[in-house]
Each structure stands twice: as C-alpha cells, then as structure tokens.
C-alpha cells in the first residue's frame, strides 16, 4: 500500500511541469466542499458501513457521517466530548462510564440514546470480524443503567480501553437491528448522527453528500461534501492547483513553490510533525546489533539535520531519543531527552563506541567483527518511497564515514514488510503508530509480550527487543486511569528507551494537509491549530468539518 505522497518520483516530474502553469478554476458549485478521498481509486463502490474499516468504505462514512463518543485530538492531546458529554472511570478502573449527549438525533429524526451505544458494542461481540481492535478481549459487559448513561465493565483494569472504546463510530439500533450480516452490509443509504449524512448523488467516479437536517450542532453551513476518484498522487496535485480540490492530505513536493506560490492568498498547507516517528530498526537478534553500544554508535553517526533537509525538504525536525513525535508533547520527559545524547551527530563518539565494542577497522578502513569476519548491513526500505530512500542514503553515507559498510536495499513493499514481521533483515526503516498515550509505542518498542522469535510474523516489535522492566511499567500504565498517574510511568519508560536504544529514532513524520481558502474558511493551521489538517484522520476530521464555513 503506497502511503499518499510516497510515489515521489512521478509526482516530482509532474509537479515540475505544473509549476509553470496556471489556470485556476473551480468546477464545484458554490458551497460544495471538494475533499480528497482516503482511497486512491479509479472508481468507487457505494459502501457506507462505518464498522467495516477493513472494507472499502467511502470517505464520509468515518470522517463525516458516523460519530464516536469522544474525539481524541492529537493537538493538545485531549479528548473532545462528542456524542458523550462526559466520561469517567469508576469502581477502581473496572468501569468506564459515559454520559451521552441529550438532544442528538439520527438523520431520520429518531432520537439517539445510550441504547444505540450498547447495541453497537453488542454487534461487535456478535461479529468478531468487526471488532478489529479486539475490544471484547478486555470488555466484560456494556449496559445502560438509564437512557443517558453507558457503562463499560472491564474484565481487568485496562486504561488504553478508553481510546478504543471512545473512538468507535456508533450506529443506529433501530436501523441496524434488521441487518442480517453487518460484515457484508454496504449501507447504501446511511442513517447517522454526523454533519453530512444524505447521499445526494453517487457515481462510480464521484459522489456528493449533503448535510444532516437534524445535526445536533445545527445544520452545517457547507451545502455538500464532494469526493472524486483520483488514482494517483499526481492527480491530487493537479486538482489542487486547479482548485478542483478544496481540502487534501497529499504530499506535495516543494509545496511552497508549487502549491502556495501559485496563489499565496488562498493556497495553504500545514504539516506539523505529529504523525508517528520514523525509526531505523536494527535487528536485535543479529550480531553486532544486539550490542547497545553499536546501536548508539550507528545513531551518533547519522547527521539528522542533513537527513531532514535532504530527505524531508525540511518539513520536520530531527527526532530526540525518546522517539516521541509532537503528538506526545505533553508526555515528553526533558531529563530523558537530555540523557539521549546518542541522537546527536557525533562521529568521534561513534568511532570510540565501536572501538570499545571490538569492531576495529581492518584493511581498507572498514570495520570488522571481533572475530575478523566482515561487517555489512543491508538497510531495507520500500521501493518508490522516495523520501525514505533518500533518508537511507544519508544513513549509508554516515555509516561509511565511521567505517561501517552498509547498502540501501530498496525492495517491494510487501517483501519489505514481510522481512520486518519475520525478523529477517539487518536494519530497516519503519514507522510507528500514534495513539493518545505513548503506551502503545513503548509496548511496540520494548515489551516482551510483543516479542516473537525470528521466522514468526510479529505485528509489532519488528526489531525484536524485550525488557522485563518495561513489561512491569507497561502493566502499571494499564492500571493508570488518569494522566497524572500515567505520566511518571511514561517518564520511566522514556528513560528505559533512552538507556537501551532498542531502535533508532530518525524524525517525527509530518502530517500533511493542504487547503484552499477561495471558497471556504475556518481550516486549522499553525495559527489556529485546533485539529490536524489532514482529511485522512478520522474521527478528527469531524472537528474540521464542523468549523469550516463557506466564505
């Protein structure tokens, strides 16, 4: 799966051609917001099933139609009350209680209530294929003691439950109770609580959804939201330049010149580094990468300033040693950042550490293993991901500088991902996830529970590193139901990560977003950072859709 924005080569060629042209035009009728679909496609299937995230669902389903109890906002790291006005932990963390909002109606006029929430979770229990986050693994029962309260009883205290439970889109019981198989249900005429619920037109190459007449925040000012089929990044860029797209989340090379320069008054972009941090994963089961000194030396050899400039066009910053992106700013522990000197460019220090580890320079200035065997690393990266490939080239050059022989290994995406999961690689570039708490990140990076032997597919912990001390802290985080309880534990996890350097943070990923203010105002940006700008994050896009207005 290509990330939007990764097919850089072609995009660059096209963008270079396009940069010389101009002819702004807007096809869409007034008041119609044209949004980039989340799927790159040449035609669309009419499917608005919000529980079928693994299926091919249309963009509005999760971004504009169905709403969750709360919306987690990575900018500021807070939960925004949505269908629930209030939430609390009770019974020592065994019960998670939500007060649902009064006065919310489904788009057919039926009142929304706690029973709908209970129904939705029961649906997940009955159909495990819909429970993609395995919520029922720790959930014991969902009940509604009164029409505005929902109680989630947990099998054990597990604080990450709040995120997964609160982000689930809620479906109407009165409609879905008659659906025979919700796994293959395509929900062609959706009934939902969100701002845009009415399918005005649906053609295989474009469709339009109109406002929900009963929306609880008042009828939206935008007349309709329109999406069209764009099979590749080039088409997104061309559409942005022609003002055929009002809101997109694609990587645009040299965005200042190509997009903003075209119409500085109306064309805007914002790419805060709040996506997951990109890491260089060393395979901890392979010598000499099992030696913390070697891992730190490799990290110290890398010139991250150069990498950010060359590989990322300066759209992000060098990572610090905690591996936390800007989405976790409220968790960042300064002593851990200060202790992580091994992310600073220090060639002499790197050489010293490698000498200490017994990897001495041999003939030709290249370092060898302590037993004299040649030392060589292949660094895996998916072919076509031009920014990552350039980053890897910087790493390779840096490593050569300290006498370590390395090579860029650009391979097919599936082969690359397979080697990560199976643990059959030397080193590889890879992403990390963004959740409300760094719990998931450090579980992926240091837990023995996510650790699988080489040859067995591991969904997480690709570098294969586990630390019992981390397990203990992670277990305590699961019990912590407030930020104040959680923070000191996350601090310790950060210290643990910085000490052991199980993987090498490179830079936090920028979250891309572009918008045109010709016809609409109210998009988030650096001056008004109320939500991420990307239309590809759900349910966060609801925050944007309820703020944006026609000019």
């Amino acid at each position: 799966m290509p990330r939007p924005g990764q097919l850089g080569g072609k995009a660059l060629l096209l963008a270079a051609l396009v940069a010389t042209a101009c002819a702004p035009r807007n096809d869409a009728a007034n008041g119609v917001l044209v949004v980039e679909e989340s799927q790159q496609a040449s035609s669309f299937i009419r499917n608005f099933n919000p529980l079928l995230e693994v299926g091919d669902v249309r963009w509005p389903t999760l971004h504009a139609m169905y709403e969750p109890l709360l919306i987690y906002n990575p900018l500021g790291g807070k939960y925004v009350p949505w269908l629930a006005e209030h939430h609390e932990w009770a019974d020592g963390g065994h019960v998670l209680r939500f007060q649902v909002r009064a006065g919310v109606r489904w788009s057919d006029g039926t009142p929304f209530g706690a029973a709908d929430v209970v129904f939705t979770f029961e649906l997940l229990r009955k159909f495990p294929a819909l429970d993609t986050r395995a919520i029922w693994q720790y959930l014991d029962a969902v009940t509604s003691p009164d029409p505005t309260t929902v109680e989630f009883k947990l099998k054990r205290v597990y604080s990450p439950a709040l995120f997964y439970v609160s982000q689930l889109p809620i479906v109407p019981a009165h409609v879905w109770k008659d659906v025979a198989d919700p796994v293959t249900f395509t929900n062609e005429s959706p009934v939902a609580t969100g701002p845009f619920t009415e399918v005005i037109s649906f053609e295989p190459q474009a469709y339009q959804v109109g406002p929900n007449p009963y929306y609880w925040q008042g009828k939206p000012a935008i007349k309709a939201v329109r999406c069209m089929a764009l099979p590749a990044n080039d088409q997104s860029i061309i559409s942005l330049l022609r003002n055929d797209l009002d809101w997109a989340g694609s990587f645009v090379p040299a965005v200042e010149r190509i997009y903003v320069g075209e119409d500085p008054e109306h064309h805007h972009y914002w790419s805060p580094p709040i996506d997951g941090t990109v890491l260089l994963y060393p395979n901890n089961t392979r010598k000499p990468l099992d030696d913390v000194r070697v891992r730190k030396a490799i990290s110290m050899a890398i010139d991250r300033d150069l990498m950010v400039k060359v590989a990322m066009y300066g759209y992000t910053r060098p990572a610090d040693a905690t591996a936390l992106s800007d989405a976790y700013n409220n968790y960042r522990y300064q002593p851990a950042v200060d202790a992580g000197t091994w992310v600073l460019h220090d060639v002499a220090g790197a050489e010293r550490l490698l000498d200490e580890a017994g990897l001495r320079r041999g003939a030709g200035g290249l370092r060898r293993m302590p037993d004299g065997a040649p030392l060589h690393f292949d660094i895996g990266v998916p072919v076509g991901w031009s920014d990552w490939i350039r980053a890897t080239q910087v790493i390779v050059r840096s490593l050569r500088g300290i006498g370590v022989d390395a090579r860029v290994q650009a391979i097919d995406f599936d082969a690359w991902f397979d080697s990560l999961q199976q643990g059959t690689y030397d080193m590889a570039l890879g992403w990390t996830e963004v959740n409300p708490s760094p719990y998931g990140l450090y579980r992926h990076l240091m837990s023995t529970e996510t650790l699988h032997p080489v040859g067995e597919a591991a969904a997480e912990n690709w570098h294969r590193f586990g630390l019992p001390a981390a397990d203990k802290l992670l277990a305590q985080v699961e019990l912590a139901t407030s930020f104040e309880q959680e923070k000191p534990l996350i601090d310790q996890l950060q210290m643990l990560f910085v000490e052991n350097a199980p993987a090498i943070p490179l830079f936090p990923g920028p979250l891309w977003g572009e918008y045109s203010s010709r016809d609409f105002v109210g998009f988030p940006d650096a001056d008004n950072p109320y939500a991420p700008l990307s239309p590809h994050w759900h349910p966060q896009s609801l925050l944007v859709l309820t703020k944006v207005k026609p000019r």
């Binding site: 040449s42 299937i45 499917n47 474009a206 089929a229 080039d234 599936d414 999961q421 992403w431």
Partner: protein
C-alpha cells in the same frame, strides 16, 4: 469448418490451462493476503479480528488441491469470490463496473490504430519515397518510441491543464443533467485524450509492419501479372497486395485486442479512467487473490476470444486456411 472446430478444441484446452495458471500464479507471489491486510492497517488489527476476517474474506487454509477444486466449481458457476480491496463487493461486480470502459476506450483505440496504421502502411508502400513514406512514418515511429507514461502526462498537461481543451480526468462528467445524448457527448470528450495518446503510441508499429510486408508482396509475380493484365491500380493495391500483406498484421491485431484489458493501465492511471488496468495494478499491490484471479480469467477469455476472431478472419482472408483441413 473442421479447421474452426479444431481451433475451438484447442481454445478449450488453453482456457483450462490459463484458469489453472490464474489459480497458481498469485499463490506463488511472496507474502500472503492476510499479511497484506495487516499491512493496510499498519498493524492496528488484532489477531482475533484477523481470524474472523480471514473467514469473511474467504481465505482458507485448506489443502491446495481442495482450494483448486472449489475454485474450478466456482468459476464454472461464475462466482469469482469477494474482493479484499473492495470488500464486501464481489469480484464480478468490481470487474463488471470497469470492463465496459476499458473495452470501449482501449478497444476502439486499438481498432482505430490498426485500421489507420495499416492503411497508411499500404499507401506508404504503394508510393514509396513519397512524403508519407519518408516523413509521416518516421515521425509516428518516433512518437511510439516515447515512454507512454511521459507521452500521456505531457498530453494531460498541455491539452488538459494548460489549454483546458479536454477534461483532466474520469470517463464522463458526473454532474450532468440526465439525457443519453449529453452522457454520450461527455463520454466522448473524456475519451478523446486517452484514446488519442493510445493511438499515437501504437499506430507507428502497425504502419511500419504493414509497409514492410506490403513491399515484399509488391515484388511478387502475381502482382506484376495483375499490373500486366491491366487491372486498375486501386484493385491491385487492395484486393491483391494488401489482402496478402495484412495476414501478419492481423495476427498482431488479435494479440493487441486480447491485451486491451490489461494493456491500458498507464492510460487509466494518468487520465483517472475507471478501467480494469488500474484494478489489476491495485489488486497485485495488495495481494487481492480473488480479484487477480478474476482479472486474469477475464483477460484470458478476452485473448482467446480475440484469437478465435482472428482465426475466423484468417479463414475469410486466406483461402489456404479453408482448404488445409
């Protein structure tokens, strides 16, 4: 007649072989579809859900032979399974939506390209050394030698983006008022650029092939005899020379027609055209076995059907084929 019967028998065996290959080849690719699914969700899916989804998507861990048998019986019934990419849409539904557009766009382009190219080839050979032969032919070959992607992108940029003569994307305007004529008009305007680039990229080959065989044929005794007997030159050119020279090109035409369904993927990507070529790329990328199989099968049937058509044209063009039984 028995010539055609033998050909049909041959095609039946070929169809079985390709149906089997469509089953085997995707399974020889590295990685498995469940992993591919994991990839799409960046590891967000939990193992419990994956097991349940495997079932919903129809992945089985049954022995290959059993899967093969099930596949064969389903194919016979016309049930190609469920697409992972477009879940819960069926493979037949996905292909059905795209097939028409590709067949019309690429099919018409191939036919136009073949007809015009062959005609130009005949004329170029007939008037050797004329401007048609010395200028048009090399220019067309030159254009055809360009990487198609580049050619299409430049066309999109110049005629779509800068000059705004043709629409930038899609097969028809989706916000049209109802009316079959309006729809057709819109579909034709949308097809002009992709079809033209397809024709430009391929016409040189037809022309050159036709011209070269034609020159050979023109040296044959029967052409000289026809001239000597005083037949009108148009008749000699078309009925005697071109008819014989056409045979190798017709074989190529059959191949091109068959590969219409798979060959136009770059067109479809550049011009956002909703056809099967793009489907195939996306399906291979995400290990959508069922969709890959379905597309392979469709392409195979198309290639075989086109070849059968060519065989029939052969019988009509070449009396020797009729008598060879």
């Amino acid at each position: 007649m028995s010539y055609l019967l033998r050909r049909i028998g041959f095609y039946a065996v070929a169809a079985w072989a390709s149906i089997t290959l469509a089953f085997i080849i995707p399974r020889m690719m590295p990685g498995d579809p469940a992993t591919a699914m994991l990839v799409r969700f960046k590891g967000k899916l939990k193992p419990e859900a994956i097991d349940a989804l495997r079932e919903a998507f129809g992945f089985t861990k049954a022995p290959l032979l059993e899967q093969y048998w099930q596949y064969l019986t389903h194919v016979v019934r016309g049930d190609l399974g469920v697409s992972v990419n477009y879940f819960p849409e069926t493979v037949s539904g996905v292909i059905g939506g795209a097939l028409g557009w590709t067949m019309v766009l690429a099919g018409v382009s191939v036919v136009i390209s073949f007809l015009i190219g062959s005609l130009l080839g005949v004329l170029a050979a007939w008037r050797r050394g004329s401007w048609l032969d010395t200028t048009v032919s090399p220019v067309l070959i030159f254009l055809g030698a360009y990487p198609y992607f580049w050619l299409a992108t430049v066309a999109l940029f110049v005629f779509g983006f800068t000059l705004d003569w043709f629409p930038l994307r899609h097969a028809y305007a989706d916000n049209l008022p109802p009316g079959i004529l309006r729809f057709l008009g819109s579909a034709i305007t949308h097809a002009v650029m992709p079809a033209t680039t397809l024709v430009i990229a391929t016409i040189g080959g037809w022309m050159l092939g036709m011209r070269n065989t034609m020159i050979n044929v023109l040296g044959e005794d029967y052409v000289t005899l026809a001239h000597a007997k005083g037949l009108p030159s148009r008749r000699v050119m078309f009925r005697y020379a071109a008819r014989n020279a056409l045979l190798p090109n017709v074989t190529g035409f059959g191949m091109a027609l068959g590969f219409v369904l798979s060959g136009s993927l770059l067109t479809e990507i550049v011009f956002s055209y909703p056809g099967t070529g793009y489907l195939l790329v996306a399906a291979v990328r995400s290990r959508d076995y069922a969709l890959i199989q379905g597309l392979f099968l469709t392409i195979t049937v198309a290639v075989l059907a086109a070849n059968l058509l060519v065989d029939m044209i052969y019988v009509w063009l070449d009396p020797r084929a009729r008598r060879s039984s």
